[in-house]
């Protein structure tokens, strides 16, 4: 990429407003990168570069995003564009309306170069579950970009977009951000509208920004964080300027380390990055505190009951009656089964079956009801821990990006979500930021979590550490 071209939203916007660069010029450069590089990375499922060019030409430099290319994960509806959710069941589906978050981005001057690849219906941690093809990590094409928002994070990492949005249900924005070496933010549940995000785990799903810097994520949050009357779980909050709220210091902040996570097996370089970051925090004026979240290790099993339960209901609408894949059977029951069997991949089927099971008569109390109670317990414990700390620092993932095809055991794949899942259960904000590389040159990501509604403060703290560790890669 040309060293003269801006690499962050912040710099791009500045350049455009200073007339050093036009939105079309930037898009033309980006287009070249995409055409050269995406055949290998395969971040995109569909491209709309010609239309994007006209959008760029029409964009207004004074708008918040000034015509910047922002990629959209293909489980978020954009009117007139296909929305496949990485699934054969929606392979040819065209969205008749746009998600609120997309509308906000477009109104703020974003230009969408295309829709990005994902694990089918956002279920997975590697983007290998896409029905179409896997995405390759730009840092090492033999490796996964992470998932489920692997296409979005790869696009940003490879320079195919200045930012992207993804969805995070159990870590699907943060984990691929870590694997690809970019910033991925999961806001407090209810801060960004879910209207138009194809639901996977309704009480867990969040749309979040993916960017090269924490400041860029804050810029995107200024556009996307708004109460939406079309989403009953959207919460009206007092206005915050996330960018203006970024402070240069951690003075007076308490950074919490969760005791119960210390025993977990973590790649040595990631442990080293944690140590380095702790030191940077202290250097910036923070104190390190030890906190306890006694049942944090129960978060994984809780998630793998609740998320499948909700998804089993959410995916019921894909029956071929009104849209999507349709395969005839001898009667309606058979038509449903044939359509869904052909349309859904294995991981999706697994989760639907688990979900139907844990909700079914005789099992509901022991599984779903129990999981809901433990969820509340963990959320309460996190709240308590966040009385004695302002933010909690953890690795985002136990390892760096693994090779494509290396992890085939579903349970093994699930267990890697151990650090990211608690924030989804609690509805708390959490951000993954790049923290160096491992011996093989693969990106390392670390995570900060905060209390609900502390999104601005959280981004501010993350920005300090992000900057201290070298900033945008």
């Amino acid at each position: 990429m040309s060293s003269e071209l801006p690499r962050t939203l912040e710099h791009y916007r500045h350049a455009v407003r200073a007339h050093e660069l036009s939105a079309e010029e930037y898009l033309d450069e980006t287009r070249q990168l995409i055409e050269r590089g995406d055949p290998q990375v395969k971040a995109f499922l569909h491209l709309r570069l010609d239309t994007a060019r006209s959008d760029a030409q029409a964009s207004n430099p004074s708008s918040p995003l000034a015509g910047a290319p922002i990629a959209v994960k293909d489980n978020i509806m954009m009117a007139g564009e296909r929305c496949t959710c990485g699934s054969r069941i929606l392979e040819h589906y065209v969205a008749p309306y746009s998600a609120t978050a997309v509308q906000l981005l477009l109104a703020a001057g974003a230009v969408v170069p295309g829709k990005t690849n994902l694990d089918e219906f956002a279920m997975g941690s590697s983007t290998e579950n896409s029905a179409f093809f896997p995405t390759h990590n730009p840092a090492d094409p033999t490796r996964v970009p992470g998932g489920s928002s692997g296409g979005s994070t790869a696009a940003v990492a490879a320079g195919f977009a200045l930012g992207a949005i993804g969805s995070d249900t159990g870590g699907s924005v943060r984990q691929p951000a870590a694997f690809c070496g970019v910033v991925g933010f999961k806001p407090t549940y209810g801060l960004v509208s879910r209207y138009g995000l194809v639901a996977f785990g309704s009480s867990l799903d969040c749309i979040g920004p993916i960017a090269r810097s924490v400041r860029d994520a804050a810029i995107m949050m200024n556009v996307m964080a708004a109460h939406d009357p079309k989403d009953a779980t959207s919460v009206k909050r007092p206005h915050v300027d996330f960018e203006a709220a970024l402070q240069p210091t951690l003075a007076g902040k308490r950074v919490g380390i969760i005791r119960e996570l210390q025993g977990l097996d973590v790649q040595p370089e990631i442990a080293a990055a944690m140590e380095m970051t702790r030191k940077a925090a202290v250097k910036s004026g923070a104190s390190i505190v030890d906190v306890s979240v006694p049942h944090i290790l129960s978060a994984l099993p809780v998630y793998y009951i609740i998320a499948p339960a909700e998804c089993s209901a959410n995916l019921g609408r894909f029956d071929g009656v009104r849209y999507g894949l349709h395969i005839d059977g001898r009667d309606m029951t058979e038509t449903y089964s044939r359509t869904r069997n052909a349309g859904f991949g294995t991981e999706v089927k697994r989760r639907i079956l688990i979900g139907a099971f844990v909700l079914s008569a005789g099992y509901y109390d022991a599984y779903y009801r129990k999981a809901s109670s433990v969820r509340q317990l963990i959320a309460d414990e996190l709240d308590a821990a966040l009385q004695s700390a302002d933010v909690l620092l953890t690795p985002t993932t136990p390892t760096t990006a693994f090779r494509i095809g290396a992890v085939t055991n579903p349970l093994e794949m699930y267990k890697a979500d151990v650090f990211t899942i608690p924030a989804n259960l609690a509805g708390a904000p959490a951000v993954s930021f790049p923290a160096g590389k491992d011996a093989a040159g693969l990106p390392i990501g670390l995570q900060l979590m905060g209390p609900r509604w502390s999104d601005a403060e959280l981004l501010s703290s993350a920005n300090v550490l992000f900057t201290a560790l070298g900033g945008e890669s």
């Binding site: 978020i76 509806m77 929305c83 959710c85 929606l90 589906y93 969205a95 008749p96 309306y97 998600a99 879910r194 209207y195 138009g196 995000l197 194809v198 639901a199 309704s202 009480s203 009357p229 079309k230 989403d231 009953a232 779980t233 339960a309 909700e310 089993s312 209901a313 019921g316 609408r317 894909f318 029956d319 009656v321 009104r322 849209y323 309606m332 029951t333 449903y336 139907a356 909700l359 079914s360 008569a361 509901y364 779903y368």
Partner: protein
């Protein structure tokens, strides 16, 4: 033989928009023209709860004497059916908006109070029409206009014991929902639907096997179905045929119930709390104000009419069919304090004209004041009762006053004694035979003579005066 009956009634709430989206609720428009991402179950759509639906539901639940719960929760009821786009229905399972309550009914058996189990709000599914209705073969057509319409589901305790009681329950419930403006209650337009559970047992202490009956399109069908089912189950018990716990379909034409081909093995709905909707929290102050502002309920008004105004049960029932009728009546008697006469006139002449015009009272120009005015003119002999029947249409169809109407029709009653005497002498002269018959003792003939006088006066003579005058002259 004891029959035990429980009803599950779905009432469509009279809102402008659907339960969970802003689509319109008009009935009868072209198929699939009131749709949006939410009610079509498109990917990414989310439900938002209609404030008016909640208000109407709380109003009816309060009127039914239910305990209205300040906090209630929505649930997903999961099953697959072409008219259910999300493959789940948003309803209330564990924590409904209301529990308990009751509705009074009166049948030949007497007055009873039918207890309710619960009431909750939920969305309707779309409408499926089957091959028999249209010319395609072996297929079903689906219209999603109805999908997402707001419903309140009311479940009764199995307190009813006959088809008549079920019928009266439905009639009274319909009256109530219309009275409160909560629903049109029109079963023909699907605004009220009813499923029935019936069991028959030889032993009053033990309940029999419960059978569900669906596809009931009118109150009458409900009664017919129950009557048939009662008979069928009694027969089974008699000849020791086992009664299956099943769902049966009511055949309108035959008046019988038949076993439905088994749908699916078990319907495990896998209810769980709806994650897309937070808890519904009602404002206790609003609830209290709702209770305080509850109007007199139709049966309360009905009783009061019978008790305090000495109206017949028939008249009281008729006048309290619709709230607007009862209010009209009460305003009319405020002008003209003769409840019996007003009630009678409303039940006969007024009702007849409304029927002819296919209109309701409030759709006409007749007002309590003009009706009262008309009846007072009759009472004061300004016009005859017969003449009033000609005046009434004018009052109904135009905004005129009784005085103007009478004048324009030239119907002022003649009570001038000399004019009447003049007519009477003419009648006597022209009807010699009848005069002889009357003088000979045939009382009834006076009626004929009065009629002749009325004809001569073009109906304007005061009939009583006419009769008295004739009698006097014939002595």
């Amino acid at each position: 033989m004891t029959t035990t009956i429980g009803l599950e009634i779905h009432v469509q709430l009279a809102t402008q928009t659907k339960m969970f989206c802003g689509c319109g609720t008009a009935f009868g428009d072209a198929p699939n023209t009131h749709v949006c991402p939410v009610c079509l179950g498109l990917p990414g759509a989310l439900p938002t709860l209609n404030a008016e639906a909640v208000r109407l539901a709380t109003r009816i639940a309060t009127a039914l004497g239910c305990t209205v719960h300040e906090v209630s929760e929505f649930s997903r009821k999961n099953y697959f059916y072409p008219d259910l786009p999300k493959s789940y229905q948003i309803t209330q399972f564990d924590r409904p908006i209301a529990t308990g309550g009751s509705l009074p009914i009166v049948t030949e058996r007497g007055a009873r109070s039918i207890r309710l189990t619960r009431a909750h709000i939920e969305e309707d599914a779309g409408k499926s029409m089957h091959a028999a209705d249209i010319t395609l073969g072996g297929e079903t057509l689906v219209d999603f206009n109805r999908c997402g319409m707001p419903l309140i589901e009311i479940v009764t305790e199995p307190d009813m014991q006959s088809g008549d009681e079920a019928y009266e329950f439905l009639r009274n419930l319909r009256r109530l929902v219309r009275w409160l403006g909560v629903s049109s209650g029109d079963m023909e337009k699907g605004a009220m639907r009813c499923d029935v559970n019936v069991s028959v047992s030889p032993d009053p202490a033990k309940r029999g096997t419960k059978v569900e009956i669906k596809n009931l399109n009118s109150f009458r069908s409900v009664k017919r179905a129950i009557d048939y089912e009662e008979q069928r189950q009694a027969q089974c018990l008699g000849d020791c045929t086992p009664i299956m716990t099943e769902t049966r379909h009511f055949d309108e034409v035959q008046g019988t119930t038949t076993a439905m081909r088994s749908k699916e093995a078990s319907n495990d709905y896998r209810y769980f709390p709806e994650p897309d909707l937070p808890l519904l929290q009602l404002d206790p102050a609003e609830l209290a104000s709702l209770r305080a502002q509850m109007p007199e309920l139709p049966w309360e008004v009905q009783s009061r009419f019978e008790r305090d105004l000495s109206l017949s049960p028939y008249d009281a029932a008729l006048l309290t069919e619709e709230r607007s009728t009862a209010e009209f009546f009460q305003q009319a008697i405020a002008f003209y304090d003769n409840p019996k006469k007003v009630a009678s006139y409303m039940g006969t002449e007024v009702a007849k004209l409304l029927n002819e015009r296919g209109k309701t009272l409030t759709e006409t120009q007749l007002t309590p004041a003009t009706l009262a005015g008309l009846l007072m003119m009759v009472e004061h002999n300004a016009i005859s009762n017969t003449a009033s029947k000609d005046v009434l249409p004018l009052l109904m169809d135009t905004g005129t006053t009784p005085m103007e109407a009478v004048r324009s029709l030239g119907l002022e009653q003649v009570s001038d004694t000399s004019a009447i005497e003049g007519f009477a002498r003419e009648v006597i002269a022209e009807n010699v035979i009848q005069v002889e018959q009357f003088r000979g003792g045939k009382e009834a003939v006076l009626g004929f003579l009065v009629g002749q006088l009325m004809k001569k006066s073009k109906g304007k003579a005061n009939p009583k005066l006419a009769g008295d005058t004739l009698r006097r002259l014939l002595k």
